[in-house]
Subunit: 201 residues, 4 copies
Amino acid sequence: MVLEESDKKQRIITAAIDLFYKKDFEAASIQEITEAAGIAKGTLYLYFSSKDALIDEIFAYCNIRNVQACDEGLDDEPTAIAKLQRRMQNAIRWRVAHKKEAVIEQMYMSIPGRGEGSRYTQQHRHFAIVDKIIQAGIARGEIKNAQSSLLGEVFFGIGGAFYYYFRENPRQMEEEYPWRLCMQMVRDCLQADGLKPPPDK
Amino acid sequence: MVLEESDKKQRIITAAIDLFYKKDFEAASIQEITEAAGIAKGTLYLYFSSKDALIDEIFAYCNIRNVQACDEGLDDEPTAIAKLQRRMQNAIRWRVAHKKEAVIEQMYMSIPGRGEGSRYTQQHRHFAIVDKIIQAGIARGEIKNAQSSLLGEVFFGIGGAFYYYFRENPRQMEEEYPWRLCMQMVRDCLQADGLKPPPDK
Amino acid sequence: MVLEESDKKQRIITAAIDLFYKKDFEAASIQEITEAAGIAKGTLYLYFSSKDALIDEIFAYCNIRNVQACDEGLDDEPTAIAKLQRRMQNAIRWRVAHKKEAVIEQMYMSIPGRGEGSRYTQQHRHFAIVDKIIQAGIARGEIKNAQSSLLGEVFFGIGGAFYYYFRENPRQMEEEYPWRLCMQMVRDCLQADGLKPPPDK
Amino acid sequence: MVLEESDKKQRIITAAIDLFYKKDFEAASIQEITEAAGIAKGTLYLYFSSKDALIDEIFAYCNIRNVQACDEGLDDEPTAIAKLQRRMQNAIRWRVAHKKEAVIEQMYMSIPGRGEGSRYTQQHRHFAIVDKIIQAGIARGEIKNAQSSLLGEVFFGIGGAFYYYFRENPRQMEEEYPWRLCMQMVRDCLQADGLKPPPDK
DNA sequence: GATGAATGAGGGTTCATTCAT
DNA sequence: AATGAATGAACCCTCATTCAT
């Protein structure tokens, strides 16, 4: 009833996602986007102040949905490892199901000057959540006593690996083995073992 | 004494790497690049037939150097795991030492239509070599009997994680612990365990 | 009231005709044309997809008008010779009155690769019409039984001669003698005489 | 022994004629010409001060040869008409045999600003000679008492017609009929008849 | 709100010409 | 005399953005 985004705006977003995915941010022109959205060129500027603003908003659009999908059901999991495993499954499934949005999210973060620094900083939302889980896990002795940011990177690295694999081999998503492997790797890489912690510093 | 690449060409390459790194391929104009190289705009076209050709060549330039650095000393390592561990160290060290080139290599492969498909396909040189090592390892029962492409992705995923971490925390490269962690993760994720192989297909 | 071609487009056409006439297709730049038309450079591309397209359209513009003017009143003439004589007068008068358009039409057809081959092929519209008249005249025994294409060339050759003459000596157009001479030459050159036809092929 | 034009210069001329013919003056670049001539770019400027000078000289080169070929044997002919007929044959045969040079001569004269005004002015050498013959013929009552410039244009108009015809139908040059037709047209159009001269002016 | 014609800065590229070798 | 690397002005064209309707 309320709060429904303008129809026009949604059409712009949909068209922009499609074209950004297919052609890159730079290569997709306002002309093409508005044509695909079935509106006049000037109309876009009623909803987005500039192309840059559009790109930012499209990223936010994709990022938010991705984060939300990733966070689903995390509270139901008892341990940090279980939460991370659950989150990884969420992430992979969402990205495979929303290839365009996933690609755009990634593309955005690799633009120099747009998403600066390490992925950890860039994907703030994703990382903030994962970092919290990891830190809690470390505090409880459940997770390796290493830099949480490093463990976070590893977590996302493994996630990316399985995502690429499943994206190219979608049928494997129905199999049990790859998922088991994935979960096992998360555990192996993150779970605390007997190793001594780093001597502070 | 002989055969040294033209001074001008090298200056173009250096300037282009710097600007592509700072501003993205599209955003860096021929104007800027030639200015930075201290030559006239037209001169660039004596060495590169077009901006696209320049981009391609810059990528090749970075990619070749990266691959070479990564492959150093691999033959000295006895086992597949050892080779992979060695290669990962090479990769991380080179990328941290050549941040711009590493970023450009990555950027290039994420351009839609330039490096299509999975990273596995894109970074052909890197992946081809790693894949061979993995497959040999699988054949010898040393590495998990899973799809080599999946294990390759995991390998690069972990590598990326440590690379980002070290890039942001360069002093950690002097410590022993993070490297030990890295090597251990490679082993944990790739080394064969008692798990049954996937039921073919 | 309605359907009038955009004001801007007409101004571009006028400016282009003027500059193409004065400076040749290549030498007249888009910059100059749009300046002369009093519009911005980019605006031209709203009406013409490229400079080549502009040139083609300008030619068509001139050619169509020329052909139409030439064809006026031909049906009123009873014989082939009379039709040709009428057409020649039309052609000369139009070209003198529209010097720029006439020159552009000619220039266009002499561009290698644009209007290839003999004039007969190039000026298709003009030639097609004249050829039909000539062939009908041959069939009726009114015109020399020679290759219609050759007689067509002669017709246009004589037309060109008088056009150049009148263009440089406009006052002569008011005199009777030159026109009489012109008509007589058309008759002399084309009208059937007792000569035997060529022994076929 | 003497006076032999530098080998290099001749190679430039040959290459330029070929490329101007194939691609138009503008479209043929100095680069291409020197490449085709097998010399360095800078060398061309030792022989020609600029591209414009080259074009002018190439035109002169073609024009001189054409004029010379046209003038061959004219003195052997007794009457003005016979001289003109001979000249027309010379002209047609030379142009068919030297298609490139003929096309270049024509192209040059149709460049706005290069060969200004009527063909009569442009092709000065050709016209001067023909004009002299015509005026002598008029003086002797052999040729129509009309403006010599007009008769000159007609002469060249007919010549152009047969040239185009023969160029496209080279076998017709072996036949007698087309040549007879050509000679007859020259006579018909130029030879004095009983018509009164124009009332001076 | 919606339009799309108009803008003009800036893009990549070509090419006649120069000059140190 | 001969070279060809270097130049930079000028070219055609694109496109994000504006604004009168």
